[in-house]
Symmetry: C2
Subunit: 359 residues, 2 copies
């Protein structure tokens, strides 16, 4: 049997509550498939670690983690303890860059049993991917402040795009579009307002399109694109975007499908030189920590994405089917955000049972 070695990082807040439910699902599915999972849990990338050590990660984090087949991540962020940009840049954003996880991939899908806030939309109407550049662009930390703390204060922050960085995310997105039925790709831009980096992005999209003649390509400025997520979510198949635009679209998309607490994400190193990281789209949700009501589905769906990435496609599909069956059944088993009265643990158990029974 194959063995996959997984680094488990629960992190902060509800991450600590949802990660065990992800593991339950993984164990349930592994029991019926021909592979084993070996977990190693880490306490860093958390406010607790910060309080003890004054930093988010040990100095040797890179060497410690680089040999794993994947990282299974909860959430990070405890703004009362550490400012968000410190905790995030000190952990999650370090992993994304350090392990060159340049493709952030998030499905936007209206699931059975979940009500979209958009009037009249049904499962099947909305089914696309947001592919986000995950290492450069607007998330540089290059810049600074001139005349600090005076009335003349000027604050500058650089957006940095490289040909390497732009081309590889476009290639990833085009390949994904190629694998899908509709073969349609939408590029998010803002070249009418952001006058240097975004016209450059458009140019690279145009050049890349020429290599994929069977893919239909369009582009929208980010302002009207967000509007079209609400007005015409059925237009999209694969949406490719810069780091910031992708961040926005991959929260807005799940909101439009009513799945903000349910949506998964993969931070992918497509070359598999380094481990990829899988985490729910939602954050650490300090407001509901400790209440036991956090929705575990985003974490469990992330486990499914992780298995697909590890080549365990049957097992990945089995987890997603388990989720879908439990959601379709609906009722009290669901957590309060989905209208039920279940807990993180009871819903997690329900899904794990469903997976065990079915396979």
């Amino acid at each position: 049997t194959r063995t996959h070695r997984i680094a488990v990082i629960p992190g902060d807040g509800i991450g600590v509550e949802t990660v065990p439910e992800g593991i339950k699902a993984l164990d349930a599915v592994a029991a019926n498939h021909d592979f084993e999972l070996e977990y190693t849990e880490y306490d860093f990338a958390s406010a607790n670690y910060w309080l003890k050590h004054g930093k988010m990660l040990p100095d040797n984090w890179f060497d410690e983690l680089k040999g794993y087949d994947a990282i299974f991540f909860g959430a990070v962020g405890a703004p009362d303890v550490v400012p968000d940009h410190v905790s995030l840049w000190g952990s999650l954003l370090k992993f994304r860059r350090g392990f060159d996880q340049y493709a952030n991939v998030r499905p936007v899908r209206l699931l059975p049993g979940i009500k979209s806030p958009l009037a009249g939309r049904l499962p099947g109407d909305i089914d696309f991917y947001v592919v986000r550049e995950n290492t450069e662009g607007e998330y540089s930390s290059v810049g600074g402040i001139m005349f600090p703390e005076t009335d003349r204060e000027i604050v500058m922050q650089e957006t940095v795009m490289t040909r390497t960085g732009v081309d590889r995310i476009l290639k990833y997105a085009f390949e994904l579009a190629e694998s899908r039925e509709r073969k349609h790709l939408t590029s998010a831009t803002k070249s009418n307002g952001i006058s240097i980096s975004m016209p450059y992005w458009d140019e690279r999209v145009k050049e890349m399109s020429a290599k994929y003649p069977d893919i239909s390509v369009d582009k929208f400025h980010i302002d009207i694109l967000t509007a079209n997520f609400v007005l015409h979510p059925d237009w999209f198949d694969v949406v490719v975007a810069s780091n910031l635009f992708g961040d926005i679209l991959s929260d807005l998309g799940p909101a439009c499908t009513g799945t903000i607490g349910v949506a998964p994400s993969g931070n992918i190193n497509p070359e598999r030189i380094y481990p990829s990281l899988f985490e729910p789209v939602h954050g650490s949700a300090p407001d509901i920590v400790g209440k036991g009501i956090a929705n575990p589905v985003g974490q469990i769906w992330s486990a499914s994405m992780m298995l697909n990435h590890l080549g365990e496609h049957a097992a990945g599909a089995a987890i997603l089917e388990g989720i879908e069956r439990v959601l379709t059944r609906g009722g009290d088993a669901l957590t309060p955000d989905l209208g039920g009265s279940g807990t993180t643990i009871s819903l997690g158990a329900e899904i794990a049972t469903e997976i065990s029974v079915a396979t």
Copy 2:
């Protein structure tokens, strides 16, 4: 009687079709109020002007326009003739900066007779303003390309915020919140990812809040904020945002109220040293030019905002009431985007008549 001198710039595409309908409404309301409007129309800021002169504006545009009481603008953009970033930076964005129109103000309101794409929302549920910084931030043209046209290409573009620029837009937004019943202000940020300029924005918001103790303030990162526009549009009263974030939110907001073709905007110089500019939120819409079906309501509502800015509050209100009555009546008079079979001209005439009859 008071006279207001208005520069009229129809621009490109459907701007040429909707501007006359705005003027009809202005004339209708002026006839019944104690003021006169004097219009001067200009053909620049258009693709036609570009084709004749190789530039978007005459060299003396600033001196030519600076003495007007306001600018009534249609739309600009004809990407088949001039690249968007050239036409926009050569006209509209020049006005915003040259006339220091640093507050871009856009109402987001669910109007009677208009169906929101959000399930179950009714007029009254959604009624807020987006206040957008309109001169600096992410829309700098500072930056450049290193190693151009090689594999090592690096593209950099600077976001520039100044204390002056940030503080004055915050002050404008806080004052607007002060004038409203709910006295609630939401700040759009992304300080967890954009590590220099956005934490600075947060700091300035915090400092400004201290001066307005009766206003309740919250903040959201832009990703979850766009999600909340869809999930909880009733949460918002005044939303203040940087140039780019405000651009996004002020398209998404109108989309959530079904009014993307209907929404107005003011580009305001609050000190009234220079003319302010009023334009619909929609663009030049090359796809429907010449068909006579462009919705004129965004332009007419912009006329109402312009009158309010000129101190003609009764007249401004009369235009908006005329719009609301015609929309409430609904039916065939409306343009196709609102489900009717009317034309730009017939709907414009209907609203003008409504205004004349009522006042």
